[in-house]
Amino acid sequence: MLTSTDEWKLYGETFKSRLLLGTSRYPSPDILAKAVQLAQPAMLTASLRRETAHAQDSPVFWKLLQSMKVPVLPNTAGCHSVDEVYTTAQMAREVFETDWIKLELIGDDYTLQPDTLNLPSAADKLIKQGFKVLPYCTEDLVLCQRLVDVGCQAVMPWAAPIGTGKGPLNAYAMRTLRERLNVPMIVDAGLGLPSHACTVMEWGYDAVLLNTAVALANDPVHMAEAFANAVKAGRSAFLSGAMQAHESAQPSTPTLGTPFWHHA
């Protein structure tokens, strides 16, 4: 059963919330701030871009990020090689003053599928430089095992491609992965509904990371709250132990002593 002390740990640090929230694509900084205030996420993701006209909102975002007082998880979004990841992570560490890094190494621009063949070597390189690596990966069991082998203390399998909102597409693989690996696992990407988040938490995942499902909702603030509640519900259900499903109906009301039984 869920208690107020249902904390969890990543790289030795304790978190109360099991929701990690992205900061992109919100209608306004004010709406982002209100969503964060209601959802109370464990971490907020952020990124880095060239200082150009496209990044003109950077000072506003930086000020907001500092005011929200939530740990920041920088990402390496857009990187296509281990070298790009390494350089970006180092730059992120200096800017955000944190060793946390969400490792994104893209292998296919159309699906934004991670480069699964090079992800372990990228993680290995970052971990050896003292980063606390949270790798965005697929639900492939062997890949996740390799990431753990090189020192990742948690993995972040996708539910579906980034931004699709399709929810967990491969339930069998995700449930198998959860059963096979004994490290914290955060479902990252592809969640569209609070029920998706609730489902993966029911399967025993430790947390979820999402962005678009909240940011593109008609009411992002209350959708953030809905996701936070769904995560808590799923976690509580997992801890409570669900009943076994049955093929045939089983009456919940006792049948013994049913009046008028077999009178006809």
């Binding site: 990124s47 880095l48 871009r49 909102d57 950077s58 975002f61 920088p74 350089t87 800017v95």
Partner: protein
């Protein structure tokens, strides 16, 4: 010599450092720098000599997922 900062060209003297190059821009902290895709810590800006056609990236925090 010619250097590139975020894909724009700038003229700098031959003994210019990364710190000199950054001073040409109006970038405000926080930011981080890389020269030819290699990260340069801010403590090394003043002693990092540039070469002709070096490519400097100055990056700033933005929203992300």
């Amino acid at each position: 010599m010619l250097i590139w900062i975020n894909q724009q060209t700038y003229e700098l003297p031959l003994d210019a450092t990364l710190q000199d190059a950054i001073a040409l821009t109006h970038i405000a902290p926080p930011f981080a720098a890389a020269v030819n895709a290699q990260f340069i810590p801010k403590t090394l800006y003043a002693q990092t000599l540039l070469n002709d056609n070096d490519k400097i990236e100055l990056i700033v925090p933005i929203t992300g997922g």
